[in-house]
Amino acid sequence: MRELTASRVEADSSTIGSDRYDRQIRAFGKLGQSRLRGLTVAIVGAGGAGSLAIEGLAHLGVGRLLIIDPDRLGATNLNRVVGATPTDAATERAKVDVAADLVRRIDPTLPVSTFEGSVLDPTVWWALRAADVIVGAVDNDAARWALNVFAVQYARLYLDVGVAITPGPQGIEVAGHVAAVRPGQACLRCLHGYDSAVAARELQPELHDAKRAEGYLTAVDDEPAPSVIFLNQAVVAIAIAEILNWVAPWKPPLTYTLIDLGRTQLSALDADADPNCPVCGPDGQRGLADAGGHPLGASTSTPPPPPPQIVAGTPDEPSERCGTHEEPRRP
C-alpha cells in the first residue's frame, strides 16, 4: 500500500468568498458553505458509485478528501467510473489516482490524499481517523463491517451506499440504498446493512473456499455484478445531500433510504439500535475512540501514526446521558 498526496495546497476561506459557490450559498448560506469547507470526507471505494461521490463532493466544496481503494482500473469500469479514460484502463491505473486527477480538474486547491489499499488493512483503517465523514462505496460486507466498527468507535457519520440490479418478476429490479450511521444511533448492523456471516467469510478466504468445495456457494456467487451509471447517480445524490444536511440542516435526516428506479420510488425507513448489538451495544465499541484498538486486533502490531500512545481495549461506558457517576473502570 502506498500513500499519494495529490495536493497539499491549503484550502482557505477566500475560495468561499469567490463566485464559485455563489449558487449554493444562495440556497444554504455562507455558514453552510463554511461548514462544508471544514469537513474532511473519506470515500472508501473509488469505483462507479465512489467516483461519483468524489466528483460531487469536490464540486460541493468540502475541505479535504481522503480516497481509498485497493483496485486498478479495467475496461469494464469505463461505463461508470467518472473521470476514467481508455488510456487509464489500458494502463491499469490505480483507481485512486484516477480519482485524484478528477478532483484536481474540478478544484486544484482541494487537498486530496489517497490510499491504494483496503480498509481491512489496519494502516488504512487508522487513517480514517482524519475524516469527519465516511462514505462507503464498497462491494463487500467485510469492508462494510470494518467501516461500521470505525464509525461506532470514533463517533463519525458514515454513509453506506449500495446498488443491485437483479432479475425480478417483471423484468429487472434496479435498486439501491443509502444507510446513514450517526453517532449514538443505530449502527449499520442494526440497520441490516451487511450480513455478518458473509463478512466473516470474506475475512477468511479459506472458509469461502471450503464453502464452495462443499457446494454451499456456486460459480454465480463469484460473478461480477451488473452495474449502470444512472443507478449509481441516483443513490450517490441521496448520500451527498445527507452530508450537506449533516452540517447545514435543511431537511429531516434520513436513516435508511431505498431507491427503486424500476418503480421510480424512494422509501425512507427508520430503525432502532439493537440493545444487544455486538458493535454498538453495551459490550460493543461505541465511543471508545483510540482506547478501542483495531477490530482485527492489530493495534499493537500496526500502531497508528504519532502521537500514538494508543492501544489496549478498555471497558465501555454507559449510555450518553446527563447524570452522575458510572461504575469506575477496574484498574
Binding site: E10, W246, D290, P307, P308, P318, E320, T324
Partner: protein, 198 residues
C-alpha cells in the same frame, strides 16, 4: 440549545495549519443528549455553576500534517451546589473531595476531563478571567501529571455565558493554554457552537 449571536465565529481554517498550539488542535464533540440538559441546568442559576464532562480522546496526524486531538464526550457530572465551597454570581469553587473523585474516575477509565462553569453576568460574549486561567493552569497540570497518556487523555475548560461559550485546553507536554479549535454538538446534525476568543 442556546442561540448564539456573539462576536464569536466558527473557525474556517485549522489552527495547526498556521503553527498555533505547536501544531496541535483540540476539537470537542458533545452528544446533544448531554449538552442540552447540562447547559440548561448550568444556566438556570444566577450563581455560577460547575460541571465536568468526561470523554474519550483520539489523537491523529492527518495526511496534511495537521495534528488533532478529538474528544468525544461520554458523560456529564454536574457538581451539585452543595458540593461547592464557594458559589456566588462571580465565583465558584468545587469541594476538593468532589474533584478528586472525578479525577480518580478519569484515571481509572483513561478519560479526558473538561470542566465547565458559567459566568451568569456574561451574555453574548464570554471569556475566562485571570483567576480562571490561574486555576486552569494548576488543575490541568495536575491532570496531566496524574493521568496516563495511553490511551490519550487531555484536560480542557469551557466557560458559558447566557448566549455564548469559550474554551481552552492544556497542550500536552507544555504548560500552555490554547483556545479550543471547535465545539460540536452532535445529534441528528453536527452543530458547531461559535467560540468566543478566550
Amino acid at each position: 440549545m442556546g442561540i448564539f449571536t456573539t462576536q464569536a465565529k466558527i473557525a474556517d481554517r485549522h489552527p495547526s495549519a498556521s503553527g498555533e498550539s505547536g501544531g496541535a488542535a483540540c476539537r470537542l464533540r458533545v452528544p446533544v443528549a448531554i449538552w442540552d440538559g447540562l447547559t440548561e441546568w448550568l444556566r438556570a442559576s444566577e450563581q455560577e455553576r460547575f460541571a465536568y464532562l468526561l470523554g474519550r480522546a483520539s489523537a491523529v496526524d492527518d495526511p496534511w500534517g495537521r495534528r488533532t486531538v478529538d474528544v468525544w464526550v461520554r458523560r456529564a457530572v454536574p457538581v451539585p451546589d452543595q458540593a461547592l465551597v464557594i458559589q456566588s454570581p462571580v465565583r465558584v469553587e468545587v469541594d476538593p473531595t468532589f474533584s478528586a473523585a472525578v479525577l480518580q474516575a478519569c484515571w481509572e477509565g483513561g478519560l479526558s476531563l473538561i470542566d465547565v462553569h458559567t459566568h451568569p453576568f456574561a451574555d453574548a460574549s464570554v471569556g475566562f478571567s485571570g483567576h480562571d486561567r490561574n486555576n486552569m493552569l494548576h488543575t490541568h497540570a495536575e491532570f496531566a501529571a496524574s493521568i496516563p497518556t495511553d490511551p490519550p487523555a487531555v484536560a480542557a475548560s469551557l466557560v458559558l455565558g447566557r448566549r455564548s461559550a469559550a474554551g481552552t485546553w492544556l497542550v500536552p507536554g507544555t504548560n500552555r493554554l490554547e483556545p479550543l479549535h471547535s465545539l460540536h454538538i452532535i445529534g441528528t446534525h453536527d452543530e458547531e457552537i461559535p467560540l468566543c476568543e478566550s
